[in-house]
Symmetry: C2
Subunit: 381 residues, 2 copies
């Protein structure tokens, strides 16, 4: 079925990197911020109980679902019960099991959009089309297709939808009846700690995807789907067929961690650190590559901007110097050429950030000089 699909370019970059690489390419959170001692304590408690190593129910552990439901009710202005939560193996898994269960042919996505979602849809032979303006959804959405959006600090361009835009999308959805997949991977990473009400809270045929990867640790691979109870029963068929259930141990560790610690205290640390790194990277761009156009994000993990050069060629060149970033081409459903690029600022030290951007700057200058030299020679001849 998927014979013709190429491996994700980002994963290829990740596979090509080594310990020496300065990587702005991945979406890796800062390892230094993982609450290792707290996770160790949680693990120790959990490992006293052999049921942490046993099979468990497909929907996920009740206590953890309860805690996630409370997050919605308390912080997202979105009343939720544990029966409306299904635990997934990373929020990535949600794309597969929702699509398999409900989507027949087509999904409409933002442009640019998260490459992992694109892959998941394409592996299932779904047609992926993008939309540029909310108004065009009036023509693109149908009862049997899906809409995929990231409402907060979207990967890759770090943009968020305003309240009015959310309501407008919900309004169109309510008219058309499509399935909404709303990805909230970065929703708790606003630098100022604000949390916005999701589109899903205004629309019943919706799946709101959450993840512990960016707020606790990705190595646990635990995410969730928040949706109407009646949809959960259907998705469970696909979930069970995939991995029976998400690892019991990982769910129990997270449950214990949340039991013993204040998640929002931890989030505060992450947000402060990420804001500082973002500001630093922004200042490096202004200093070394002033031609790189971008807006500073209010949250998330990426700076997204536009070079004056073809970003795909530039990325290829700098990878030879062991510096990695992602050219925007891969984020478009139709892979169109682009000068835009995504830079992750959470997984490098300030020293690495400065060194990396300086090197890219040198590369651009050298290239431009050689182009200038070539043009000069051509004129002479």
């Amino acid at each position: 079925m998927t014979k013709s699909i190429k491996r994700s370019y980002i994963r290829e970059i990740l596979d090509a990197t080594n310990k020496e690489t300065i990587s702005f390419a991945g979406g890796l959170p800062d390892e230094n911020l993982f609450p290792m001692e707290k996770l160790k304590n949680a693990s120790l408690k959990v490992l006293d109980d052999s049921s942490s190593m046993q099979y468990s129910k497909s929907q996920g552990i009740e206590d953890l679902r309860e805690k996630i439901a409370k997050l919605y009710t308390k912080y997202f202005d979105f009343p939720t019960t544990k029966d409306e939560i299904l635990i997934t193996t990373g929020s990535q898994q949600a794309f597969d099991i929702i699509s398999k269960t409900f989507l027949e042919k087509e999904v409409i996505v933002q442009t640019p959009t998260y490459i992992g979602a694109l892959s998941a849809f394409k592996v299932l032979d779904l047609k992926v089309k993008d939309f540029k303006y909310i108004g065009s959804l009036n023509y693109q959405l149908k009862k049997d297709n899906g809409l995929y959006v990231m409402s907060d600090f979207a990967n890759p361009n770090a943009k968020s939808l305003e309240k009015e835009e959310r309501k407008e999308i919900a309004h169109i959805l309510n008219k058309k009846g499509s399935f909404l997949i709303e990805d909230a991977a970065y929703s708790l990473l606003d630098f100022d700690g604000k949390i916005k009400k999701p589109i899903s809270a205004y629309y019943q045929k919706s799946f709101h995807l959450g993840s512990f990867s960016k707020i606790v640790a990705p190595g646990l691979r635990v995410g969730w789907i928040r949706c109407d109870k009646k949809f959960i029963e259907k998705i469970l068929v696909s979930k069970e067929a995939l991995d029976l259930h998400t690892p019991t141990l990982n769910q129990m560790i997270l449950n214990q961690f949340l039991e013993d610690n204040d998640l929002f205290e931890h989030l505060k640390k992450i947000r402060m650190d990420y804001k500082e790194k973002m500001e630093f990277m922004a200042s490096c761009f202004k200093k070394y590559i002033p031609s790189f156009q971008f807006e500073k994000p209010n949250g998330g993990m990426f700076i997204y901007g536009k070079f004056q050069e073809d970003s795909f060629l530039l990325a290829k060149e700098v990878l030879k110097k062991n510096i990695a970033f992602v050219p925007a081409q891969v984020f478009f459903a139709d892979s169109k050429k682009s000068k835009e690029a995504r830079f992750n600022f959470t997984n490098s030290s300030k020293k690495q950030i400065e060194k990396g951007i300086k090197e890219i700057s040198n590369m651009i200058i050298t290239k431009n000089e050689s182009i200038w030299f070539k043009m000069f020679k051509e004129r002479l001849s």
Copy 2:
């Protein structure tokens, strides 16, 4: 896509059970045999390194792949390198990613066969057909379809293929060129510790699936695929789209556990315990339900046999008394009626085994008496 598929009956039973249920239904290993102290020690070591909580490569952690490769070379008479191993989130995941990548329409399975594989194939809209005799594979196999077999202590009927049968299947495969999916979930659970050479060792277009669920602990959800290097690159597309990678923490815990302990010492304990439980369950059947026909297995986790009654109705009746087992109907690709049933002996105490089988016996006697009484009344009238 999967709208019409019902949830797995076994998972439904598992969801219906509570702490009071005597369950012979699941395929749960004995929790008391999980090496909890050793896993705790491994976890502690691993949690000193924050990379255990970070994203990692899609194919899996190199050290763990290396160790699994050595298992093949040393014990399965099947020379293997780490490049031929792909780590999966439970061996269940392997069905999905192999099928998505290579199978277009159809898969041929043993009868009866593992219900989890059936679900995975059906969720992907594959046609599932069974074969009863090896010879019929000559007609059923084609270049573009797949063959799914469990060569050792198959779930549900605990049967193994003899060496000659393996060679015969490999011979047909070599003529036809189908994809072979060989499931080795129970291959290391021979009561006498024997390990047989898999069919995959005689056939290149093969995927040999392994799992730590039955030999260490299922709550970690770590399995693997052993196949030709050139297939791995293709499967990675589907694997990445599904969950990016198998949880880093879980892979590292297993790697550390295998580093510090002798897996085969641990397996010895499991095998001795399971043999004893099996013998005990067999003696209970002989004592309380002598009409139940079965052969004692040489390994694995199940006794499979035949009642004189419809096993589906019987299972439904005894579930009301809080006793669970699985009627064979669910193990057939076409769900045909059956008197056969599967009993798991690894997840109950001897006391529970005796009590459970006695209750089933009482149920049968009461039912037969009421049928006899009904017949008697009918004759009188």
